[in-house]
Symmetry: C2
Subunit: 290 residues, 2 copies
Amino acid sequence: MAEGGLFHSCHGYNARMNATQTRPLPIGVFDSGVGGLTVLKALREALPAEDLMYLGDTARLPYGTKSPASISRYACQATRHLQQQGIKLLVVACNTASAVALDALREQMAPLPVIGVVEPGATAAVGTRPGASHLVLATEATVRLGAYRHAIAARDPGATVRELACEMLVSLAEEGWTTGDIATAVIRRYLGLLPEEARAPDSIILGCTHFPLLRDAIAEVVAPGTMIVDSASTTAQAASTMLDDLGLRSDKPAGGLRLFATDGASRFARVGGRFLGESLDASDITLVDL
Amino acid sequence: MAEGGLFHSCHGYNARMNATQTRPLPIGVFDSGVGGLTVLKALREALPAEDLMYLGDTARLPYGTKSPASISRYACQATRHLQQQGIKLLVVACNTASAVALDALREQMAPLPVIGVVEPGATAAVGTRPGASHLVLATEATVRLGAYRHAIAARDPGATVRELACEMLVSLAEEGWTTGDIATAVIRRYLGLLPEEARAPDSIILGCTHFPLLRDAIAEVVAPGTMIVDSASTTAQAASTMLDDLGLRSDKPAGGLRLFATDGASRFARVGGRFLGESLDASDITLVDL
């Protein structure tokens, strides 16, 4: 995208802005709840000079069990808040919304660039080798939509993909029971639902933003040598590349962080702190009514 | 309530109705999702001649992690649908909504009688003996609000009450993992969070409508002789008594059932079937947009 070619929608107006004006703006990160904070954490590590603005639509979580039409409507409503604040890139840090609503969000945000978590994960997974076998652990909605199946097939038609709905892993992550006997028993039970030959894939894709917290427990259970693809870090790398390609990297010494939620600031702080990897207080979160 | 003393709000009008007109109307049952189907199941067993109308606000579940203000607003919006269909009694088959929104719902529904799940459970628990010790297993919101603590203290000021948030039990029930090693390990882990002296109470109250599905697993873990109070069956008994007291018991040979949800009919059918104890098809559920 050339300088001066960016339109930035702010407070309901479309204003033509050039890269110099756009560069200092924050990256907007959106999720249905706190899970996307694993993506936010990876973005902070990959892009420490960027301002980040996170919105968790906690009033309407979880998106994973809702219908595609509702998910799309909610995602568009919620991200409009970030759009109105002024951002230079939207990261959809929610697998369900990435699977269902990415086209709708790109249309709403255009010409603002929008990155989801599914595509970077699929790209990283097919990087193992052509014709590899992939196992996607995700929520029910992501599985039902075949989001990773489609994204991987588009990149490597010879690949084998299995998708497995693992809703209990969401609860384990939120409860903070991410290691130990219960976590490994739950993971073993899910993997036990697969036919024998599917239990040692080349890659396991963590297709829900909650699952990076269970990475160690998953690694303990799966065959050694299985590549574990973490959509948080792959998405942060994609965002970094995107900013470089568009000439939009911040030149500040250090970036700040603003957190918004649509409900339940104290729960957001308590559970979200585990996901972000630093302690949060309810006063760190601004509640917004969409 | 005397004959002719019931006001029934229908299609936005308050119409004076007598017991003869009111008696054939269904009982309305409301929950944030499918959990309340355990209460519906108990109601069908206790009151086989009654028509039942169930609404699960699946578009906005779970209520358990949301703020009191949102829970109250959602509960009032959702139950208005049942009110407009015409019902003779509202059963709030959701512990969180019973804890937070019962007063608001009674005001909205007046003079229609409204029964929650907290009060019947508290009444049954204090029936063990005066000054007994009670352990409430519930969602975070129910615990935070101290719903059972207050209801038990009002009935027996000498009772001891501990409340324990057990969100993972919700996932276990929805996933159908209600027996076996993982279920008992999760229950043991929650009970292990209590001080030693609190692990053998006189009663354990299942303070979430999902938990009756885990009754056997809970019974396996707790000390023999502990009374397990199931809010589904105690609420059904309270509804039965209420209909008798008001002279509103149906005189039909058999009651029917209508199911409404605000989202995701196929998931409602699949998960809800386990809760209701009979197989459901997505076509059995009517979607409503609130």
